[in-house]
């Protein structure tokens, strides 16, 4: 793909000119924009010549990243010699590298979710400049908006249904036809701003999270008017009067429901308001309730005023027991009448069962003696992954990882909670398919920062893998992207999904600009990487937000939602870590739809493809003798070439009891399990009639 743009040079120029413009604006400004700044202004005024002398270097550095501080003692970082560490930069022409993955397709973000143009002479540019409040400053290059507005049009999470892929965006939803994944194409751009556009799909209903204050019931793009500048008051003690009420009846923060019966003409059927909006949400399908589905709403942002939505309160629990903090909201969606969807419960999932305190997790107690303020607790979930087949959910809830019993989905009950000294922000969770492990992620720095530099500890901003047994979580080990990333690449653990390779626990995961990494955590104390894809930074000189938000496996392919660059499609390729048979076995699992946080239980068919995958694994781990492996392969081969001839299949099936027997003496539980599973597959093989 030939690209004529030069983002690197361009951004450098932008940075230089912008900073020069700022300096001029600063020295020309006669009054500070805000009282809080007067001290700084005062300092400047006191030493104008010094400021002027230094300004060139100073201001130019504004866009440059600061070098990472030294590693804390006893900590190690990721590998700076990995080939991924030094890829060339570029928005659309960055260096790329992969291992065990083939890049099939890359689609740029649709125009409707872009500010428009990279051509500074485009007449639209002035309009955009005005919207940004930059129209009057000729020193700021017109195309600076490309950098400025990244997040307002960021791509976010993915959901899948049949041949359709839904890609959330802070500005709406993109809908793609993926019937031929290598030739996926756009069907619909649904415009409806409000961030961050987390998506789920169930039958004809598409759900979308909205949390930002610019969200509108009518999907309008205009947001709400800001308060006009306050007239200068002589009496500075007098409190400011607001000219525009903060409360707006047209504002929407919560979960939208669209009817997508006609995918090229989706309609909004409901919009359920919540106090803190919806950062993410999780579809919950109760196997015992055919009439409704449920939505768990994870709310992480500010509580709106009760004037806007009755009952909302950001008070502390002892001030108001009905505070909107310290809870999740549960929406019931009647399938026959989705317009009647409403919040049916707001479970206090952080409650201390003994004391009844609703802020029961990590409550530090009060330290009134030293004038210390009341502690702030885990008061929100960031994301919840439900595993209905187990009746469990794993909540990544700011300061804690929690385990919920969801057998009664309207009244989830916390059954365990963990914390971790190296964790900054509990972000998301994935169960192993057998439910014996949970992978949590730590979004240290919120995804906006470079956190995979060689000097960033690889226990920070990493996955933490927990054992799960009898509803108890026990920490096992961390996994972090093994390749160091540059200081202009935002990078931290982010969203991933299981790859259904039988006999192994494998997750594909997005690491923002750290790329996509595929990790094996079959042995949770020794997770390791088996495949990856990475692009260089968007820019070499400054951190421009981008990278993979999510990387999910769906029906044989890996889809990556790239914040700034669009949508990528990948296929796994065989390596010493993963055989073609294992890939084929994963591909044999076909789902009708996939909402990753509503984790489906994978069942593998009893066929030769799956058998071959197990044999490859037992060969790799040398759990069976070379002779036994070769006998198994021969028997499978002859059953296959004979088109499942009765005799040949029977011969193969006779090998099952020996496998079951050997399993008892296998070196490790994984191999033992594989032998039993292989034996089971062989027993269930059906011969041709």
């Amino acid at each position: 793909m030939s690209r004529t743009s030069h983002p690197y040079l361009f951004t450098l120029a932008v940075a230089l000119i912008v900073c020069f413009g700022i300096y001029r604006a600063q020295s020309q400004s006669t009054q500070p924009a805000n009282p809080s700044q007067s001290q700084t202004e005062g300092q400047k005024a006191a030493t104008p010549s010094a400021a002027q002398k230094n300004k060139g270097d100073d201001e130019e550095d504004l866009f440059a990243p600061e070098p990472a501080p030294a590693l804390p003692p006893g900590m190690t970082g990721s590998d700076p010699n990995d080939p991924r560490a030094k890829l060339s930069a570029g928005l659309y022409n960055a260096g790329e590298i992969s291992m065990g993955m083939k890049h099939l397709l890359w689609l740029k973000k649709p125009d409707a979710f872009q500010l428009g143009t990279s051509n500074p002479d485009d007449p639209k540019v002035q309009k955009i400049m005005g919207q940004l409040g930059m129209g009057n400053n000729p020193k700021i290059p017109k195309a600076a908006h490309l950098v400025i507005a990244q997040l307002a049009f960021a791509n976010s999470d993915l959901a899948f249904q049949g041949n359709h892929l839904f890609q959330g965006n802070f500005y709406g939803i993109s809908m793609y036809d993926i019937s031929d994944p290598a030739k996926a194409h756009l069907l619909t751009s649904l415009v409806c701003p409000g961030g961050q556009g987390d998506v789920s799909v169930y039958k004809n209903l598409l759900f979308m999270s909205v949390e930002m204050p610019n969200g509108r019931l009518d999907c309008g793009v205009q947001g709400f008017p800001p308060e006009p500048p306050q007239p200068e008051s002589k009496d500075s003690q007098q409190p400011k009067k607001r000219h525009i009420p903060v409360a707006q009846k047209d504002r929407f923060r919560g979960v939208r429901i669209f009817d997508i019966s006609d995918i090229q003409n989706p309609k909004q059927v409901a919009a359920i308001q919540t106090c803190r909006g919806s950062h993410t949400h999780t579809l919950v399908v109760d196997p015992n309730d055919k009439d409704n589905v449920y939505i768990y709403v994870s709310e992480t942002s500010f509580v709106r005023q009760s004037e806007e939505l009755a009952g909302c309160s950001d008070e502390k629990p002892d001030e108001n027991p009905n505070t909107s903090l310290f809870r999740i909201d549960v929406i019931q969606v009647p399938l026959a009448a989705p317009q009647d969807a409403k919040i049916v419960s707001s479970p206090r999932v952080f409650m201390d069962a003994r004391t009844g305190a609703i802020n029961g997790l990590n409550n530090g107690g009060t330290h009134g003696k030293n004038g210390l303020k009341k502690p702030v607790d885990t008061n929100q979930c960031h994301d919840i992954t439900v595993y209905s087949a187990l009746g469990l959910a794993a909540g990544a809830c700011s300061g804690n990882g929690i385990l919920l019993d969801i057998k009664d989905p309207v009244h989830p009950k916390r059954v365990d909670a963990v914390n971790d000294p190296n964790y900054s922000y509990w972000h998301s969770a994935t169960f192993s398919n057998d439910g014996t492990k949970v992978v949590f992620t730590d979004e240290w720095g919120g995804g906006l920062g470079a956190r995979c530099r060689a000097n960033d500890p690889n226990k920070w901003g990493a996955d933490a893998i927990f054992h799960l047994k009898d509803d108890k979580l026990t920490f096992s080990n961390y996994y972090k992207l093994p390749a160091a990333q540059s200081d202009t690449e935002n990078c931290v653990a982010h969203n991933g999904s299981l790859i259904p390779v039988p006999g192994r626990d494998i997750e594909v995961q997005a690491w923002y600009q750290g790329g996509v990494s595929v990790m094996d955590f079959t042995d949770p104390s020794h997770p390791y990487e088996i495949a990856y894809f990475d692009r260089g930074p968007i820019d070499a000189k400054m951190l421009v937000l981008g990278g993979f938000w999510s990387a999910y496996w769906y029906n044989g392919y890996i889809y990556g939602s790239e914040i700034a660059r669009g949508l990528d499609v990948f296929e796994l390729t065989p390596t010493k870590f993963l055989t073609q048979n294992e890939i084929d076995a994963a591909k044999s699992v076909q789902l009708a739809d996939l909402n990753v946080q509503d984790q489906p239980k994978i069942e593998w068919p009893a066929n030769l493809v799956v058998a071959k995958a197990y044999v490859d694994q037992l060969s790799r781990s040398q759990a069976l003798s070379a002779r036994q492996i070769s006998q198994l392969r021969k028997a499978i081969q002859s059953a296959e070439t004979s088109h499942m001839n009765k005799k040949k299949v029977a011969k193969l099936q006779k090998m099952a009891p020996r496998l079951d027997k050997d399993a008892a003496t296998a070196k490790n539980p994984s191999d033992s399990m594989r032998m039993h599973e292989l034996a089971d597959v062989l027993k269930r093989l059906s011969a041709a009639a």
Partner: protein
Amino acid sequence: MNILRVHRHWKQFRLHCERQKQCVLRVSLFCTLLLIILGACGSLELARAQQTQARPVVVQPGAPGQPSKILPSSTQGVLPPQSAADTAFMQGMIVHHAQAVEMTAMIPSHTNNKDLHTLGARISRSQSDEIDFMKCWLAARGEAVPKPMMGMPMSHDSMTMMPGMLTPEQMDALRKAKGAEFDHLFLVGMIQHHNGALTMVRDLFNTSGAGQDAELFNFATDADNTQRAEIRIMQNMLKKERPEEK
């Protein structure tokens, strides 16, 4: 355009050939080439036609129950209005964060507490990163970027003190303390400091039209979350130190 040019070349070529009377072979070769090129053009056109069939639509839904609008395919994104409160928030928070960086810089020379060293590294890292981010945000929008001076005593003037910031007296006491006393003052002071940031975020969102900028919204929300997590860690550390104190 290309076809016209080919046609012109072709004419010249033919003239040339007629004069030379010896290039029948060349002409036929040329014709074959031309056919291949035209064929390729044709299939390209066909591909384009197929693309047109599956033309993507831009749809803007209405309020719940209302019909959706089909927008022109040329539709591009627009941003919500910017608010002066956004700028003031970022400028104030830089000053606020700078004090936290100043406090963490004291740790190596004032205490041997390993946990505090780790905590200090974390806070210093997150606050410096956030300062960088805020500076960039302001600079990119052509707003003034404050330059707080490290180590300079701050006045009591409420104008220069963002919520939760330590007073000059508190900072002095911290500078003079060592060992366990420093640890304690640091933790108490940093919790007070972080709580101030939470107040600033709340004030921002309680201002009409503020926080609609996606970057700012995300930043303020994440900063809020990060500080809550750090507050929690510090409170646990305070709890641990308590038995030793008494």
